[in-house]
Every structure is written in C-alpha cells, then in structure tokens.
C-alpha cells in the first residue's frame, strides 16, 4: 500500500544481496512487472534504434560518403570532413593551431579552478590572469611572428569558451555588487537595485544581447564605444549578474546576523566584514546554485549565434549551409549536442560532487 507514497530514498536500506534487490525493484509486484515489461520493450526499442543509427549502420569515413543517405545509419563522414570548420569557425585556416592551444589553455584554467586546492585568494586570480592572457595573446596575436586576428574572425569552440569565461569573470564581481546594493541599508539604493534586477530577469537574453549589439552604440557617446563582441559580453554579464546576485543574496541571508554584528563590534571595517567574513561563507553555501547558473550560462552562449557570431553552434550550422553536406543536419546537430553535453554534463556532475562533499563536511 504505502509503497506508492513513500519516496524511494526513504526505503529501508537493502538487506538482501544486490541481485535480489534489483530483481525486486523490477518485478516486485504485479503492477511493477507489467510496467517493466511494457516500458522495457519501449526502452529496448529506442535504445536499439539509436545504437543502430549512431554506431552499427553508420558511415564513418569520407571515402565511403557515397553510402550516406542510402542506409539507415548516421553519416559521420561529415564530421571527419568538416571538423575544423565546426571547431574553429572563421578563424584563419593556417592559424588554427593557435586557436586550439588557446582553447586548451582556457579549458585547463576552467578545470583547474574547479579543484578545491586552487581556491585561495592568491591562486585563483593568478591562475585566471595567466589562462586569460595566454588565450588572448594566442587568439589575437599581432606580435612577434603571430599575425593579428581580430575578434570578427574568432569562432568555434574557442569563442564559445571565451564568451562563457568572460561572462563569468565580469558577471561575478558585478553580482556581488548587485547583491550588496540590494541589501543596502539605504532604501533608495536597495529598492532601485531590486527593480533593476527584476527588470533584467524578466527580459529575454536574446533581446538583451540584440539590444547590446544594435542599440547601445546609438545611445552612448563616442569615447565609450567598443566592439560588438565586447558589448555583447558585457550585456550578457549583466544578465548573468542579475541572476547570480539573487543566489548570493540568498547565501548572505542564510548566515546568522550575529556574525556581521560581532565583526563590526570588533571594529572591523564594513568592506572587510563583507569580503573576508560574509562573502566566503555565502559563496560556499551557494556553490551548487552557482554551478547550476554556470551550466545555464554555458548553454546560453549558443544564443549569440543569432546576432552573428560564429561560435560552435553557428559554425556547425555553416557546415549544413554549404553545398555538400546539407542533408546531414541530424548528424551535425547530434554532434553539437554531444559537444555541449560533454561540457555541461561535466559541470553539473562537478556541482553534484561539490554538494556531496559539502554535505559530508557539514555532517
């Protein structure tokens, strides 16, 4: 009776062997058995057709491309033929080694900053400064033997990573400022910031980026002009900060007020209390939500494709747009999906691991 309402996590731990437990969970009751059989058939059908299409019947090599479209399988030859366009976009062909090294450097920076060992006030900024400098120097060039490659020609995975990392880096300090302003003791500032955050959150990202691309230049004076990429990144960062600020604010609210009062009464200056005592705790408490926000941001970088940037999504679509491979749209989309999946799934698993680690720490 109660097995319908009791959540699985509250079941008593399995006392039998694993085999028995699995058997029971599949065929424990009549309804369970029926469900398993019916639904299992469906799942097996889906899995086998996907596996057949993706692997068994697939065409892998460019030499065999004539087979594409005749069999039932995927035509992965398109990836072999055009992977450089997908991964590098408009970046000059001969210089693409620079883009790959830059990409690796940035990816390495992101991975290293996920390692708790690097979470120190000194290491993190040094790491990011180094990673970003290597990235920008390699991508942009214009010194020594490296030819200048302007941002209009950046593309593919490295542009995706660059947008993601820049948005995160600019957005994070902004978010802290937004969050502090929102809980400011001056009502005008707190209310004003509240309205601002709500407004930004209720606008679509695409609309904000589009406006940054086409409207901002008309509104700001000459000396504030900057390239389209810079404008779009800053606008994206403000959008990110509006969401992240609410996460940080929640983190700050979860701390007991006593801490702040105690620190202030010890004579610590306001900024020191915020930066040295409250923020580190708030950040730690909200790490899972922050990672989640990072995951969402990574996926949403794909939206810049609409306003004319050749990041990986647009580069992939450019392959479909050219003559030869127009019919292989599913393969391209699945491949792009896999690339995003690798990054996003990695990030979200990392978030889950952190959450577990923290729970253990507290327990």
């Amino acid at each position: 009776m109660t097995d319908v309402v009791t959540p699985s996590e509250h079941l008593p731990p399995p006392q039998n062997t694993w085999g028995e437990w699995i058997w029971k969970s599949f065929f424990g009751s009549v309804s369970n058995t029926l469900f398993t059989l019916a639904f299992g058939a469906f799942v097996v059908w889906v899995l086998s057709s996907v596996a057949g299409w993706m692997v068994l019947d697939a065409v892998w090599r460019v030499e065999d491309r004539d087979l594409c479209g005749h069999g039932a399988g995927a035509c992965w030859a398109v990836i072999e033929d055009r992977w450089r366009l997908i991964f590098f976009g408009l970046y000059p062909y001969e210089e693409q080694w620079r883009s790959s090294i830059a990409c690796l450097a940035l990816a390495l920076t992101i991975v290293l900053s996920c390692v708790p060992k690097f979470w120190s006030v000194r290491r993190l900024p040094v790491l990011w400064l180094a990673g970003f400098s290597v990235f920008v120097a390699l991508m942009r060039g214009g010194f020594a033997e490296l030819t200048l490659v302007t941002t209009e020609q950046w593309g593919g995975l490295s542009l995706t990573l660059f947008i993601f990392a820049s948005v995160f880096l600019i957005g994070m300090p902004l978010a802290v400022v937004f969050a502090l302003a929102r809980r400011s003791s001056f009502p005008v500032i707190a209310k004003g910031m509240g309205v601002f955050i709500d407004v930004v959150r209720s606008l679509p990202l695409l609309a904000i980026l589009f406006s940054a691309a086409v409207v901002i230049p008309i509104l700001v004076p000459d000396w504030l002009q900057s390239s389209k990429l810079a404008r779009v990144i800053v606008a994206f960062a403000v959008f990110f900060a509006a969401y992240q600020a609410e996460i940080i604010r929640a983190g700050l609210q979860s701390l007991s007020e006593g801490q702040e009062e105690a620190a202030l009464s010890l004579g610590m200056p306001y900024w020191s209390v915020i930066l040295d005592i409250l923020m580190p705790q708030a950040f730690r408490n909200t790490l899972p939500s922050t990672i989640n926000q990072a995951v969402i941001t990574f996926k949403e970088t794909s939206i810049v494709t609409v306003i004319g940037f050749f990041e990986i999504m647009a580069s992939g679509r450019a392959v479909i747009g050219t003559d030869e491979w127009g019919a292989q749209f599913v393969e391209i989309y699945v491949f792009l999906g896999l690339v995003y999946f690798v990054f996003v799934f990695g990030l979200s698993r990392y978030g889950a691991w952190l959450e577990k680690r923290m729970r253990v720490g507290h327990g």
Partner: protein, 345 residues
C-alpha cells in the same frame, strides 16, 4: 586579501574587454576614420549567402560582395587584407551601420525610398541589378507563379522581397502562404526539405541555391520577373567623401572591363597606356586619386588585386564559379546589359 582577489578579477575582466578591439566610429568623416584605423569594416552574413558572402570549408569569406569589400579596402588602404568582415544578419545591417559597427553595407541591398530617406542612409550607384524571381519545386510542374496558387512561399525575413512578393501576389490576386526566415541557411534547408513550395528572391541567390541543392533538377526558376531591384552600396548620410570613392571605384571596375584591362594585363597596359583616359585611370597621369583623397594609383591597385568587374563576376557567381550565372542585365551597356562606367576626365 579578498580585495586583492577582486582587483585581480577586475584586471582580468578589463583584459578580456581590451582584447575585443575598440572599433566603432560614430558619424562624421568615415573615410578619414577608415584611414586612421587602417582597416575597413565591411558586411558579411550570419552564415552563408551563397555566391555573395559565403564561408568556405576553411572558414574564409568568399563571394561577389566580399570581393567588393576587398576592392574598397584596396582603393582606400592599398591592401585587400586591410579589411574586417563583420558577420551580420539582414535585420542587423541598418542598425549596425547607424551605430558604426560597420563602415559600409555591401550586401546586395536594394535601393528603396524609405531606406534612402528615413534610415539616414545614402546609396551608391547600383553595382548589381537583381531581378526578383520565384523558384519552385519541379515536381509541382508550375510554369507560372499563378500555378502555385495556395502554396507556401518562403523568403528572407526583413528583405525587400517580403514586400515585393506581397505586392505582386495581391496585384495578381494569387493566394499564398508566406513564411520568412532570419538566416539564409534555415531558408535553404526548409526549401530542400520541401517545407516551401517555392522561394522568392533575387535571381542570383535563387540560382546559387539551386546549384547547391542535393538535387538541382528538383528546383525550377519560373520566368516571371516580380520586380527589378537595383542594388547599391550603402553609407551613412553625410559620408559624401566615402560615397565618392565607392562610386568611382564601381566605375573604375566597369571602365577596366570596357577597356579590356584585366588583372593579368594591367601592368602591361599601365606601362604603355593606349589613351589619355586609361592613363588617368591607372594613375600614370596624376589627379585621379588626389580628388578623392586617395593615392593616384588606387584604381591600378584595385584592378591588380581583384580584377575588373567582369572578372569578379566570373570568379564568384559567373562562368568561372560553381553557379554559372549568365551575365544578363549585369553586363556592360555595349553587351546588352545595364551597366556603364562614368566619364573619367
């Protein structure tokens, strides 16, 4: 401690912003701005607009419009590489030029009254004449647009075709279902998949779309011309100096073709010019550049780099390309076309 972290973060943020070149110039003398900057900001497409601005398999820009960007960069700055192609959608081209993200629009842009006046833009003399046609699925067996009654007609969103088609259909009382796409890629795949019974657009685009189809025989261009559209190069209102350069550059390309000057023989002819006007064109006798604020050999440089009008046409959309478009209206006046050079005195 945290402060230093924040400061470092801010520094990194600043660095990443600095990486993204501060470029855009506001209204004013764009020609001078281009010369000071040392590069020309010209239009690309958000994807591939076949034959005119397309991304090849190495990620490089190619096409008729891109060649004109290169020609303009050569005329002003002496090198076709002093050029930044900014990827941009149809809908973004006018805001982008108003805001200074680009210096010129070379993106087969039709000369219409509202654009010329309300948008604060200025057109060069037409550098391409585009008739609008309809291309339908061959299997429908349509021989005129009226045969496609009730069909789905796809167009590029935010282009003149959208309006021209609506006008034509209403004038001829043909019922149809419109469908418009933001990017040429999406439009093409919708057509190839049969989502559209027909697409309407500017002739060369239809032809290149047909050539690129998985099965070109499955598509037929219908003879009815919906409208003839002259395509011009666009600059901001008040950019008279730049507009002069563009007009004379287009003219120089046409004149070179008329006089038989090609990329291959330009040095030879320059060494031994057959007429005074060619002498002026190639900068042998001074004056032709100075009036425009350029060096005297600008036209010579352009022809040496990209060839004459006919060569550009052949290489990108004509006989020498995959698209094999006939010259048609885009031929010189003495070959049955509508194009002619201005008088160089």
């Amino acid at each position: 401690m945290m402060k230093s972290k924040l400061a470092a973060l801010a520094a990194v943020a600043g660095l990443s912003l600095g990486a993204a070149l501060p470029a855009a110039a506001q209204s004013g003398d764009t020609l001078t701005t281009i010369q000071e900057r040392g590069s020309l900001l010209c239009t690309g497409h958000n994807g591939s607009y076949l034959g005119f601005a397309e991304v090849d398999d190495e990620g490089a820009w190619q096409g008729f419009d891109i060649e004109f960007c290169r020609a303009l960069a050569t005329a002003i700055l002496g090198s076709p590489d002093a050029l930044q192609i900014v990827p941009i959608s149809w809908a973004q081209r006018f805001p982008a030029i108003q805001s200074g993200d680009i210096d010129v629009i070379i993106k087969v842009t039709g000369w219409t009254q509202s654009r010329d006046t309300e948008l604060g833009l200025q057109y060069s003399r037409p550098y391409f004449i585009g008739p609008f046609y309809v291309m339908s699925q061959t299997e429908l067996g349509a021989s005129s647009i009226a045969d496609l009654e009730g069909g789905v007609f796809c167009v590029n969103a935010g282009t003149t075709v959208e309006r021209v088609l609506a006008d034509y259909m209403e004038a001829n009382s043909i019922d149809y279902e419109p469908l418009s796409f933001e990017s040429a890629e999406e439009l093409r795949s919708a057509l190839y998949a049969g989502r559209c019974d027909a697409i309407a657009g500017f002739g060369p685009f239809l032809a290149s779309t047909r050539v690129n189809a998985p099965d070109p025989e499955a598509l037929t261009i219908i003879g009815d011309v919906i409208q003839l559209e002259p395509e011009g190069i666009v600059v901001r209102e008040g950019d008279d100096a730049l507009l002069d350069v563009i007009n004379w550059m287009v003219s120089a390309l046409l004149m070179a073709e008329q006089e038989g000057i090609t990329q291959a023989n330009v040095d030879e002819i320059r060494a031994n010019p057959p007429s005074p006007s060619i002498e002026r064109l190639l900068g042998v006798s001074p004056g032709v550049g100075e009036r425009l604020g350029l060096s005297d050999d600008w036209a010579y440089n352009v022809i040496r780099t990209v060839g004459n009008y006919g060569e550009i046409y052949d290489r990108t959309v004509g006989e020498g390309s995959r698209y094999q478009l006939p010259r048609g209206l885009n031929n010189l006046w003495n070959n049955g076309g509508l194009l002619y050079p201005l008088v160089l005195d």
